[in-house]
């Protein structure tokens, strides 16, 4: 028994065991501070579905050796453009959602190619550059949201009559279009967004399948040893661009899925910090800076979103103060810090 336990901990890794136990203890403690367990589970599941694809977007770039995609906001911006354009044309329901995706993906491909070419020039410093690509693209879009000629009254500032608002509701367009598909409601509090899970699962399957193709294998090899790949006739730069494009496209899809569940499109500074929770989640899931699997994505997202849901509610009730935001920041950045220092160790 003891042996088995040891083997399990070895397999799962200490961080996951500790965080898992912590999460479990939060669920156990919840009823005592009058936090409903079923509502908490429901919250965790919804957040898991919302963030899953954004975390999945980390995988291709990790596999190709481009590191963690701190430039996620770039892909998110493509998704935002798709979403607002779809609303501009007044498209609703499945059509609206599909149109948002249909417009976001080509944009994300274009952005991804440019971003990938940039990263090829800064090999070794990808993560640093990526962070600033993300930040500066958000800042640039802050101007563009004001200047782009969108006219739908649901989206523009009420008083000036031009420029997009910071928060745009998707209600009446494609709110919960995925979440409500085959969704299950148990009692008044527990809600399972089946459709969103199915979509996330489908995306994971596509990613898994891609990694099992010839190109996907080549991409993994590039991440593992670029010199080896080059000597085997692989165009290393091309593989890296492909991975960046995939990552950017997944980010664009991910944010649209996020919005249909959340109910709002957040512009301007909204995407600014979006990369960090995704990075923290995949690292927490057991991925390293150059190896990641679908399992890492699922476990990481579940644990991380679980902690983010539970810590504020339970701890706030315990301490009788509102520190939810502080705790979130400490947990997510602490996770990133932990994982990045571990990478240095692994390199020896």
């Amino acid at each position: 028994m003891n042996e088995k336990l040891k083997a399990f901990i070895e397999e799962a890794g200490w961080p996951r065991v500790i965080i898992g136990l912590f999460l479990l203890s939060l669920f156990v403690a919840a009823p005592f501070v009058r936090v409903r367990v079923d509502a908490s589970i429901s919250d965790t599941l919804v957040r898991f579905g919302m963030n899953g694809i954004l975390v999945l977007a980390m995988v291709p770039m990790i596999q190709s050796g481009c590191g963690l995609n701190f430039g996620l906001p770039l892909g998110i911006i493509a998704g935002l453009l798709g979403a607002v354009t779809s609303i501009q044309f007044n498209l609703t329901g499945v059509l609206g959602f599909a149109a948002a995706l249909g417009m976001a993906i080509p944009l994300a491909v274009l952005f991804g190619i440019a971003y990938g070419l940039l990263l090829n020039r800064v090999k070794g410093d990808e993560m640093m550059i990526a962070t600033y690509v993300g930040f500066s693209s958000v800042a640039f879009m802050c101007m563009m949201w004001l200047m782009l000629p969108y006219t739908s009254p649901n989206m523009i500032w009420g008083y000036g009559g031009s420029g997009l608002r910071t928060t745009i509701s998707v209600e009446g367009y494609w709110l919960h279009i995925l979440s409500d598909f085959l969704s299950i409601q148990i009692g008044p509090y527990l809600y399972i967004p089946t459709g969103m899970f199915l979509f996330f699962g489908f995306m994971c399957f596509l990613m898994w399948a891609f990694l099992h193709t010839k190109t996907g294998t080549a991409m993994t090899a590039v991440g593992s040893n670029p010199e080896f790949a080059r000597a085997s006739g692989i165009d290393v730069n091309r593989m890296r661009v492909i991975s960046v494009v995939l990552s950017t496209v997944l980010a664009a899809i991910g944010i649209i899925v996020y919005q249909q569940s959340f109910g709002f499109i957040q512009l301007y500074m909204g995407p600014f910090y979006m990369a960090f929770p995704a990075v923290a989640a995949i690292l927490l899931g057991g991925a390293s800076v150059h190896k990641a699997s679908m399992l890492n994505v699922v476990i990481g997202t579940l644990l991380f979103q679980g902690i983010l849901t539970m810590t504020p509610s339970v701890i706030n009730s315990l301490l009788q103060t509102d520190m939810s935001e502080v705790i979130r920041i400490v947990v997510s950045n602490g996770m990133i810090l932990y994982a990045l220092t571990r990478k240095v160790q692994a390199k020896r």
């Binding site: 399948a209 099992h212 193709t213 010839k214 190109t215 996907g216 294998t217 080549a218 993994t220 090899a221 593992s224 040893n225 010199e227 080896f228 080059r230 000597a231 085997s232 006739g233 692989i234 165009d235 150059h290 190896k291």
Partner: protein, 545 residues
């Protein structure tokens, strides 16, 4: 005249982690004498000098045996600074100069002439003003002692390499008590005329009573300038000789000659080889540290062609260049088909494969399973081990076929591992090398380049690797071009051996040629021509195929 010698090293021995690199080396050096220290790469020259200078690496690895006597007194330097204080200078192979400083500043670094100023009262001597005119005088004096024409105000970055080398030497002789100077391959980077000036300068210094130890691969220079010569091989003194009593040919023989019986073993009778398969014309390759300048040769179908030579002369660049891993130019034909250089994919698709000398850096995916390592190149260049789905739109990795073929190679090459899923990083060096070979064989190449196949692996694994190469050559008719630093290894496997020196092929010999002839080609004496006991007639023989 019976005086105590300036330097005596007695019975010096050294082990690195149970690996003996020096044993019982003794020699002595008089004032003003020049000693030539020669030997192949790894013969123990650098270790000997490290011991003399008390380099930290020696004491960190368990010290050394024997005694060093300087002016009759035993010395044991704790670090190189002690050696400098005792009057021993070292001119490094790589320049240790500050690029943005002038010659004067470099020569007098940390020994500058200084003047008093007020700040000294507050902050101490470190803030004295530099006395530039005086420094200039001193630098000029050191430079003129060398007898060269060098502007003391020139910045190092603007100097030709020869001048940099002189700046380094001038820095050493500026020290007041300089008695002994060690020059580690000072002429390696110099053109012939520059080297000549350096040799003159050495003679001048020797006339002033400074003793020197001169390490060089250019035997002719050693013959020209040294009073006596010490030949090291495998950590032992093979011969100590007065220069005028020996010849370049004899020294070369001492350097490379090993037990001859090993080579003679099981050499097959004349083999019948096919038509020329690989034709290389005027190839140049820009591989850092292994530059190939102008190489032409032909390899025939079914042949095992060896490429040898000293480290850094360009032998490794040839395979890397033809496989497109480093910028290259010239003409290469495989059969009748021209090979586009600088495109690894093209070279691979044309039917060539490469086992890199840099096993861990280029040869393996250390973090991935053995299976992947073996099939990867074949999969990517020939679509082997893939299944086409959706009418060829998707090329799916066929994991089952991969496992099967990996198992085959693991058995055939006796790769010791738990399973094909084990990560390559967990294997020993010899088994990793076998994985690299399996990777190349999986491509089913017409022509296989193998670079340093036995570097860093143990004796048993060496034998297996060489046998495997021989077997693939005999059974499948794979033509092999094998590059190796170990001459004996080449002589035991190859049909012909080309020796590369300074980026050019200095000669192609049959493996049965006497070992001194290989030695002479490696040391580039043929080019300089007038080597002792090495006539014009000999040279033409070597260029016969």
């Amino acid at each position: 005249m019976e005086t105590t010698p300036l330097l005596r090293m007695e019975h010096i021995g050294k082990e690195y982690f149970g690996n003996r690199v020096l044993s019982d080396v003794s020699f002595s050096l008089e004032k003003g004498q020049i000693l030539g220290l020669v030997g192949e790469n790894g013969a123990g020259k650098s270790t000997l000098m490290n011991i003399l200078f008390g380099m930290p690496v020696i004491s960190q690895t368990g010290g050394f045996e024997g005694k060093i006597l300087l002016d009759g007194k035993e010395v044991r330097f704790q670090d190189p600074l002690d050696a400098l204080d005792a009057g021993i200078g070292y001119v490094h192979q790589e320049f240790s100069l500050i690029p943005g400083f002038t010659a004067t500043e470099n020569i007098l670094l940390n020994r500058e002439s200084t003047k008093y100023n007020l700040l000294v009262e507050v902050f101490g001597n470190r803030l004295e003003t530099l006395d530039r005119p005086h420094m200039r005088e001193r630098a000029k004096k050191a430079i003129s002692a060398l007898g060269v024409d060098l502007d003391p105000e020139m910045v190092v970055t603007e100097m030709p390499v020869g001048h940099r080398q002189f700046t380094e030497i001038a820095r050493e002789i500026d020290r007041e008590n300089m008695k002994l100077l060690v020059l580690d391959e000072p002429t390696a980077v110099l053109a012939e005329s520059e080297a000549q000036v350096l040799l003159d300068a050495m003679r001048k210094l020797s006339a002033q009573g400074i003793a020197m130890i001169f390490i060089s691969h250019r035997l002719q220079e050693v013959m020209d300038v040294c009073d006596k010569i010490l030949v090291l091989r495998d950590g032992r003194v093979i011969q100590e000789a007065k220069t005028h009593e020996t010849s370049v040919r004899q020294i070369a023989g001492w350097m490379v000659g090993r037990k001859m019986e090993e080579t003679a073993e099981a050499r097959p009778a004349e083999r019948s080889l096919g038509a020329p398969l690989l034709k290389v014309e005027h190839l140049w390759v820009d591989m850092p540290g292994e530059t190939v300048r102008d190489v032409s040769f032909e390899v025939r179908q079914g042949e095992i062609f060896g490429i040898g030579g000293l480290a850094g002369q360009g032998k490794l660049g040839i395979g890397n260049g033809i496989m497109g891993l480093y910028p290259a130019g010239g003409k290469v034909f495989l059969g009748d088909k021209p090979i586009y250089l600088n495109d690894p994919r093209f070279s691979l698709s044309a039917g060539m494969a490469f086992v890199s000398e840099d096993r861990r850096g280029v040869g393996l995916l250390l973090e991935e399973p053995i299976e992947w390592n073996i099939v990867f190149t074949a999969m990517q260049t020939q679509d082997a081990f893939t299944k086409s789905l959706f009418g060829g739109l998707v090329k799916w990795r066929d994991d089952r076929a991969i496992a099967a073929v990996a198992k085959e190679y693991i058995e055939a090459l006796e790769i010791r591992c738990v399973s094909g899923r084990q990560r390559a990083i967990e294997l020993s060096g010899g088994n990793q090398q076998k994985v690299c070979l399996a990777k190349a064989f999986a491509v089913k190449p017409k022509l296989l380049f193998v670079a340093e196949p036995t570097r860093g692996i143990d004796v048993g694994a060496k034998r297996l690797v060489l046998d495997t190469l021989r077997r693939y050559n005999r059974e499948y008719g794979t033509t092999i071009v094998m590059t190796s630093s170990e001459l004996e290894e080449l002589r035991s496997v190859c049909d012909r051996i080309a020796i590369v020196d300074e980026g050019r092929i200095s000669g192609i010999l049959p493996p049965t040629a006497p070992v001194e002839e290989f030695g002479l080609l490696m040391l580039g004496t043929t080019r300089n021509g007038n080597g002792n006991g090495f006539s014009e007639a000999d040279r033409t023989v070597f260029h016969n195929e």
